[in-house]
Every structure is written in structure tokens, then in C-alpha cells.
């Protein structure tokens, strides 16, 4: 808990110490997935959002349906929160295995609250390192709810304990509980409130320090709290997308479920297909119908889509493809994070097939990126891949309520008659032509065919090498024009120095936090974040030239030649600069600040 303001010494030893003022806290809840720890984590995140604080969560879910060990980590801060935190201030352990597996995630001197009904073996050396508080969470919950013998509700009991400990806003929390259980039988809420109150009133004060958050920074701002997958799906709706198709796969499924549920309100639909090839084909059919459509997937599903994606590039059809990356190859690590789809996103498929790839960095960014992606797809008649990852997809953040009245777009097709139309007009400025939806009358009587065969300007097949050259350049040049419009990212920290860290996608948070730590240590480190992965913005080389080292931080393998991961290779191929090297890992987890700092230290002490 940073910036702990030590409370004055208690006047009498029997009286509890007054609460310590803190600016942030990292709380890790460890149990089994069926205990509802995701739910309390969600309550805490939501409460932080409503309390004008910043919040970021991290969770793991077992990949088996029968449940199993699972954690939820919440970092709540009155100031800027960039990651879900390397180490926890407080661990709530529901089982012996939770205690054993997660104790090391605590900061030295951190507090562990454990369910003494289940956690019975405490190692003496741990008792010295961490502050232990045993609470018979399971039996106290049963007692509070009325002794059915089942401990369902112990998550809410634990929430009560935390509410007391961190002086959380009880009226706001109660409202959240009421909202959560509103649709259920009244007894469910009564039980929950009983469990909550039992936790809240449990005598913790003498055993533990009490804390109080400093007021949040984002005062007066309405905030919304959601996951990255939700933000992305809502962003697509705001962008005007009204048709989509998909096939279930973790962690993409939430997006299709939300769109399936919500689109009908807007007059749209989302279709569950027989497989991923059908999904992308149906979405392309929807786009052909005149309005940018969406498909998406994760892991193996993305591999299946590549042939059709190539068609969309060739036929110059706008399309959104969401790739929520997970550990690969093959079925890989379905519930773990990895950034190893950059190559397939940028290059996947046969032939020269330039497409746009954009990677949001935060939950809020998912929302805005979705709108931007739709606009780029429309303007340049090109498929756009939104590359997110398992981490950003499932984590929850609070962000400023977007100005929806301003942002929500109507992208209905223009079906008014035209005099003539050449879908692949080579004289169009910058090679940018636009799709003419069926239903549009063409007065010349010459109608367009859209096609994956190399074609002439009207879309009719050609075997001409000259036309293939011209059309290949057309498809490539329009992305060059797009690159001209992508702003050069600003450098975080000093614009010159020793080490420049390069981040993309969800590694932005940990990288920027590492920069802050390093700067505090007096080391010359800055960072730059790449959001537009393909095409890259122009001018990155000028930024790179002002640093001695360029270290690209990404969650994938260092590659056959060992210089770094997939973004490193992309940047090297663009700038031919061997100074660009990578920091990679494949453990399926997000970056720890410590891991980045270690590499920075080796670089800076060597130099």
C-alpha cells in the first residue's frame, strides 16, 4: 500500500489504532472458481469506479468446466493505476491450496486473511514474514445465513470483512448488492446481506490494521466499469456495426454473446455459425450487403479465417475481425495471455495481402479502438483486425463515461443510384475505392462483381501480369496513405536517453509503470507505445535514434534467431536496425514490473 501515512500512536493500548490513509491497495482473492470470488472482485472494482477511483483487475479462471483454483486480484488507487500490481498488500485465502500457492504473491509484511476452517497448516517462517489473521469464514457464513450447512455466501462474508478493513462506502456497496440480486428471489438478497453484515461486524479491529483510501482523483467524473471484451463489443455497437457472425471460443465468446444479446435492440443481429470459416464468410456477406460487419475468434479460430480474410483484402471489402489472443499454437493455453498472433494478424494467409492491424492498450482503449477500426475499414475498404488479448479481455477497469450522443454513428449504406461504378478503379486517388452495395442502381448498366480472382477495374477476371501489378500496388498504396495519417506516438518520459522500451497492446501499462520505477531510481528510461501495428506509423526511427537501447517488450517467444519477438521482427524488418532487441516471455501471465526492470538494469549496468 503505497504512501501509507502512519497514524498517530494509539492513546491507550486497548484502543484500536485509527485507520491509516492509503492511496492504493492490491487485494488478491484466492479460492475456487465456484466460490464466487469473481463476483466480489467485481463488486470491489465497481465500487472503486463509483468512488471516482482508478481500478484494474486481473483474474485467472480454470480451463476445466468443473472449476478449480482461481484468483481475482483488484488494484484500487486514488491515483493512476497502470497494472493490476506485481505484489499484493492483502491476500484472502479460502483454502489450504490458495494459501500455499499465493502467499508468495504478498509483499513482505503484507496481510493474509485465511479461512481457518480450511487453512490449518501455517509454516512458522511465514508467520514472521506476513501478518496472519485467521477467520472461520466458512462456519461464520453458515451461522449468519441460518445454518443450512452450506457455505454459499462466504464470498459476501469476505466482502464484509474487506469493507470494514478498508472503510468502504457501505451505502454504495449495499446498492451494488441490491442491483446484483434484484432479479433473484428476495431471500437471496436477505442471505447476502446477512452474510455481508456478519463479515462487516466481525471483530477484526484488534487483529488488523484498518485503512482508509485518500479521495479519488477523478472527482466529478462519471465512470463506467467493464471488461475489455465488453468495451470492445459496446464500441462496435457505437460505431454502427449491426451485423456479425461467430463461433464460440475462449476468450472471444463474451464478445459474440454480448452482440447477440444487444444488437436486436438496434435492429441488428449476430449469427452463431457452424464454424469460423462460415463466420467470417457470413460477416463478409454482411459487409457486402453495405454495412461494415464483424467476426472474431481466438487461437485456432483465427487460423481458420485466413483464406476468407485474403478474399476480403483482394475484393477490398471492409470488415472487422477481432482476435482475442490466447496462448498458442494449436489449442495452446486457452485461458492464458500471450501476444503471439501478431504475425498471423499482419501476414496470415497466402499471397501479398495488406490489411490493417490495430491493438488496443487498455479497456477504455478497446471501446474507442472499435470505433476507429470501423471508420478505417470503411474509409479504406479494407479488413481491419483488432488485436486484443486474454488479459485485456477479462480484466475490469473503470473509465470516464464516453460522450455517447457524440460518438454513436450511423453507417447505413448509401443506396442512391450512381451514373457508373468501377469497384477497382485504378484512377481513384490513393488507390482508395469504395464498395457499392447491391441494391444500388448503376445507370450505365454495368454492374460490379467483387472477386478474389485478380481482376480488372470492373471486377472481371484477368490473367494480365500488368493488371496484377497495378492492383497489387493499389491494395498496398492505400495502406501507405493510411500510414501517413497515423500520428507518431508520443514518448512517455524523456524523448532521448539510454533505454527506450517499446510496448504494444496490453503491455503498455506494465511498461509505463516500469518506466516510472526506473526514473525514480534515476535510470534513463522512456517508453513508446505502438497502437497501429500494421501499417506502422511513420517516423518511429527518429525516436529510436535518440536512445542507446531499444527494447521491445512483448508476450511471445524470442524466435528462432533469438533477437526478440514478433513486433521486434516487424520493427527490424522495417528499420534494419540491429539495436532493436526484444524482451519476451511465454509463461502465460502478464508482465511483472520487476521482470522488466531486471532487464533494464542489465542493459544499463552493462553500458
Amino acid at each position: 500500500m503505497s504512501a501509507v501515512v502512519e497514524p498517530p500512536a494509539p492513546s491507550s493500548p486497548s484502543q484500536p489504532r485509527p485507520p491509516a490513509k492509503i492511496t492504493e491497495a492490491v487485494i488478491r482473492l484466492a479460492g475456487n472458481s465456484q466460490d464466487g470470488i469473481q463476483a466480489i472482485g467485481g463488486f470491489l472494482a465497481r465500487l472503486a469506479g463509483r468512488s471516482e477511483q482508478e481500478v484494474m483487475t486481473f483474474m485467472t479462471i480454470p480451463s476445466t468446466i468443473s472449476g478449480g483454483p482461481s484468483i481475482f486480484q483488484v488494484r484500487v488507487g486514488s491515483g493512476e493505476v497502470l497494472t493490476s500490481g506485481d505484489e499484493a498488500d492483502l491476500l484472502m485465502a479460502f483454502y489450504q491450496h490458495s494459501y500455499n500457492d499465493h502467499l508468495s504473491s504478498l509483499k513482505p509484511g503484507g496481510i493474509v486473511i485465511y479461512d481457518s476452517d480450511h487453512v490449518t497448516e501455517l509454516k512458522p517462517e511465514n508467520l514472521e514474514k506476513y501478518r496472519h489473521i485467521g477467520v472461520a469464514i466458512s462456519s461464520l457464513t453458515v451461522e449468519a445465513i441460518g445454518g443450512t450447512g452450506r457455505d454459499k455466501g462466504k464470498n459476501v462474508f469476505a466482502l464484509g470483512l474487506l469493507a470494514k478493513m478498508f472503510d468502504l462506502n457501505i451505502p454504495k456497496l449495499t446498492r451494488l448488492l441490491e442491483e446484483r440480486f434484484a432479479s433473484k428471489d428476495a431471500s437471496v438478497l436477505t442471505n447476502a446481506m446477512n452474510a455481508f453484515n456478519a463479515g462487516y461486524n466481525y471483530e477484526l479491529a484488534t487483529a488488523a490494521q484498518l485503512f482508509q483510501f485518500q479521495p479519488g482523483q477523478n472527482v466529478g467524473q462519471a465512470q463506467v466499469v467493464m471488461s475489455g471484451n465488453e468495451a470492445l463489443a459496446w464500441g462496435l455497437i457505437a460505431a454502427g456495426v449491426r451485423f456479425g457472425a461467430g463461433y464460440p471460443i475462449t476468450p472471444w465468446s463474451d464478445i459474440m454473446e454480448l452482440l447477440r444479446r444487444e444488437l436486436p435492440k438496434y435492429g441488428g443481429m449476430f449469427i452463431q455459425c457452424e464454424d469460423e470459416i462460415a463466420s467470417i464468410s457470413m460477416a463478409i456477406g454482411g459487409s457486402y450487403g453495405g454495412r461494415v460487419a464483424v467476426t472474431g475468434s481466438s487461437g485456432p479460430g483465427i487460423s481458420l479465417k485466413t483464406e476468407a480474410l485474403g478474399w476480403a483484402v483482394m475484393a477490398e471489402m471492409p470488415l472487422i475481425v477481432v482476435d482475442v489472443q490466447r496462448g498458442g499454437p494449436s489449442t495452446g493455453m486457452p485461458t492464458n495471455i500471450e501476444q503471439s498472433d501478431l504475425n498471423i494478424a499482419v501476414f496470415g494467409g497466402h499471397g501479398d495481402s495488406p490489411r490493417v492491424v490495430v491493438a488496443p492498450a487498455t479497456v477504455e482503449d478497446c471501446f474507442y479502438t472499435a470505433i476507429e477500426a470501423v471508420n478505417v475499414a470503411r474509409k479504406f475498404s479494407v479488413p481491419v483486425i483488432i488485436l486484443t488479448d486474454q488479459g485485456i479481455a477479462t480484466r475490469i477497469e473503470a473509465f470516464r463515461l464516453p460522450d455517447l450522443q457524440k460518438l454513436v454513428q450511423d453507417i447505413s449504406p448509401d443506396l442512391s443510384a450512381v451514373a457508373d461504378h468501377r469497384p477497382y478503379d485504378l484512377t481513384a486517388p490513393n488507390g482508395v475505392t469504395r464498395h457499392l452495395a447491391p441494391g444500388t442502381r448503376v445507370a450505365s448498366g454495368k454492374y460490379p462483381v467483387v472477386t478474389g480472382l485478380e481482376h480488372d477495374e470492373l471486377g472481371h477476371p484477368t490473367g494480365s501480369g500488368k493488371l496484377h501489378t497495378a492492383m497489387t500496388s493499389k491494395r498496398r498504396n492505400k495502406l501507405r496513405r493510411l500510414a501517413d495519417k497515423i500520428p507518431l506516438p508520443t514518448v512517455f518520459g524523456s524523448d532521448h536517453g539510454n533505454v527506450l522500451l517499446v510496448s504494444w497492446g496490453s503491455s503498455q501499462g506494465p511498461v509505463q509503470e516500469a518506466v516510472k520505477y526506473a526514473q525514480a531510481e534515476g535510470i534513463s528510461v522512456s517508453s513508446v507505445h505502438i497502437k497501429y501495428v500494421n501499417p506502422l506509423p511513420n517516423g518511429l526511427d527518429a525516436i529510436f535514434s535518440r536512445f542507446t537501447h531499444v527494447l521491445v517488450v512483448e508476450l511471445n517467444d524470442e524466435g528462432l534467431y533469438g533477437f526478440g519477438g514478433q513486433m521486434t521482427a516487424l520493427l527490424r524488418s522495417r528499420y534494419c536496425d540491429p539495436k532493436i532487441v526484444g524482451l519476451t516471455k511465454s509463461d502465460g501471465l502478464t508482465w511483472k514490473i520487476r521482470e522488466i526492470l531486471e532487464r533494464v538494469h542489465t542493459l544499463t549496468t552493462k553500458a
Binding site: 436486436p264 449469427i271 463478409i284 456477406g285 450487403g289 460487419a293 454513428q409 468501377r422 454492374y447
Partner: protein, 319 residues
């Protein structure tokens, strides 16, 4: 992060469309039916004598006869000789990838209920690489017409065994004669849940037109298998069904109850060359109707609200 780099633009048309003045629109009632010349585009690249010519000619006839305007038809195909179809039709069209024309066409049909969606393709495209899509488009009862020009061979790739090649057919991949049992398109369509299942042959133009027209008028997934000879790689394949070649063109008896699924299935068992006509036809809810109902139910609850207001409500719940 909370601002848009690429904000919304009302997009103007590009290229030739942008430089020419908007045409004066003639009202539909004043428009003359399209002539064959107006609906034909590229000269077909098929081999002389290929059965596919006949299917194309009858498609033109259907368009003329039913006064469908250029802009109201969409012709979709996968890959194969037969799938070259859209290039020969002067109307909006899409030449998609091998085997996936149905999901593409489903996207068009669902998002643009104002269009007539026709899909053309071959037996390999439909039943081999596209087999699963066939099953699912049929079961979902998507409103579109699918004409499979079955030549019982892979034409475009030059004589390999197809999923409908009969046992014993000598192809480049079965030089000793095909050994795998062919699938029966009628049975497949019926069991998959298609709501209009018909069979015709390119050598009987009147019947082809009749079947295509009935298929077009069916509200749901309408499937027509049209025997269409590949003169290059499977000459004489359908002589048995061609009276001019000494064969017999046998129509399904008038007594057949087209709503009887089992009777239809039995009919499909008739010995080669089988019978022709409508095997099965049933009125069942279409995917298009089901989705439209979901939409109208949801829209009723948000009547009078702009899209941003509907979204605002959802966001307010996430505060």
C-alpha cells in the same frame, strides 16, 4: 486514448462514381423489362457444349420474365467452372472462395432482405468442401436459392473424383474407377432440413426454368440440383436422362405429396437416372423471419429512442 484518431466521415463515392453526375432515376413502373442483352455480361468461358450454358440462359429468362431489376438480384458463387456464373450476369455479384458461397450468401440474405439472393456452384463446391455449410444453411432455412450444377466431376481442376461421382467412374484420382459411394444430394438436403428440394437436368430447359422459378418463389432455403454435363471430362454422364440420347426424362408423379418428407426420401432412392421435379416443399419459419421477430420484439421495448440513448441506458447500468 479517449479521442478518435479516425473520426466518422460521411463517405462520398470514389472513382468514376464520384466524378459523374447522379443519374435521373426512372421510376420502376416506367422501366422496361430487362432484355437478355442487358442482363448478360462477359461471354462465358465454358467449353462449347457444357451444360452450364443452359442454366445461365434460363437464369436470364427468369430475370426477364419476372421483371427483376439488375440491382435487386445478387448472384453469388464459390469456385469451380460452374461458379464462374456471376461474371456472366450483368448484376451485382460476388465470386467468393471455394465451398463457402452459402455462408457468404446467408450474410447478404439476412442483412439485405430486399434482395433476391441466388447462389450457383458445382458438386464439389457444394458437397465436399462446402458440405457442412450446405447442411447448416438448409437447417437454418435461410431465404435464398441455391442451384447446384452437378456434373459428377471436378471440372475446373480437370477431372478428379467428386462426392457425386458414381462408383466406377474413372478420374485422374481414381484411375481404376471411383470406389467411394457417392452421396445423394436429394437425401442430404431432405435430412438437413431444406424446405424446398428439387431436381432437374440442363437438357430440359422448360423444366429448369420451372424449377428455378418455383425455388425463387419459395420462402426459405430452396435447393435445386441440376444435372449439367461436363462434356470435357464426363461426356455422356446424363444420357440416361436425355430422351434425345435414348434416355428417359421421368417427372415425379402428380400424386406425390411434396410435404411428406418420408415419401420424398423414398423418391430419392429411385434407380438411376431417377425422377425430376419437386421432391419436398414445406412452409417452415425461415432464419430471416426468426431474426426479424427477435429484432421487432426488442425494438418494441426501445421504441422512440435513438441508438445513442439505448446505449446510454446500458452504460448507466455499468456506472
Amino acid at each position: 486514448m479517449s479521442s478518435l484518431q479516425f473520426p466518422f466521415d460521411v463517405l462520398s463515392r470514389t472513382g468514376a462514381a464520384a466524378s459523374l453526375p447522379a443519374p435521373a432515376v426512372i421510376l420502376d413502373q416506367d422501366r422496361k423489362p430487362l432484355t437478355k442483352k442487358e442482363v448478360s455480361a462477359d461471354h462465358p468461358t465454358w467449353c462449347p457444349g457444357c451444360g452450364d450454358f443452359s442454366v445461365l440462359a434460363l437464369y436470364f429468362k427468369l430475370i426477364e420474365r419476372r421483371k427483376i431489376w439488375h440491382e435487386k438480384i445478387t448472384t453469388v458463387a464459390g469456385i469451380g467452372c460452374s461458379s464462374r456464373f456471376p461474371y456472366f450476369v450483368q448484376a451485382h455479384g460476388a465470386h467468393y472462395i471455394h465451398g463457402r458461397a452459402l455462408p457468404f450468401a446467408t450474410g447478404v440474405s439476412l442483412s439485405r432482405p430486399d434482395l433476391h439472393v441466388f447462389v450457383f456452384g458445382g458438386d464439389g463446391d457444394a458437397f465436399s468442401i462446402g458440405g457442412n455449410h450446405f447442411v447448416h444453411a438448409a437447417r437454418k432455412n435461410v431465404k435464398l436459392t441455391y442451384v447446384v450444377m452437378d456434373n459428377q466431376v471436378y471440372g475446373l481442376t480437370k477431372k478428379q473424383t467428386s462426392p457425386t461421382s458414381p462408383i466406377g467412374y474413372k478420374s485422374k484420382t481414381d484411375i481404376w474407377g471411383a470406389a467411394d459411394r457417392p452421396l445423394n444430394p436429394m437425401k442430404l438436403a431432405i435430412t438437413a432440413g431444406a424446405t424446398f428440394v428439387a431436381r432437374t437436368t440442363a437438357t430440359n430447359p422448360n423444366h429448369v426454368l420451372e424449377m428455378m422459378e418455383a425455388a425463387m418463389d419459395h420462402d426459405g432455403f430452396s435447393f435445386v440440383e441440376c444435372l449439367s454435363e461436363c462434356v470435357e471430362f464426363y461426356e455422356g454422364a446424363f444420357d440416361a436422362a436425355n430422351p434425345r440420347k435414348g434416355g428417359k426424362f421421368e417427372l415425379i408423379s402428380k400424386e406425390h405429396d411434396v410435404t411428406d418428407e418420408y415419401a420424398a426420401y423414398k423418391l430419392a432412392d429411385a434407380p438411376w437416372p431417377g425422377q425430376f421435379g419437386i421432391f419436398y416443399k414445406a412452409a417452415k419459419p425461415t432464419k430471416n423471419q426468426n431474426e426479424a421477430k427477435i429484432i421487432s420484439d426488442h425494438r418494441a421495448k426501445v421504441a422512440g429512442q435513438a441508438d445513442w440513448q439505448i446505449l446510454q441506458k446500458s452504460f448507466d447500468r455499468m456506472k
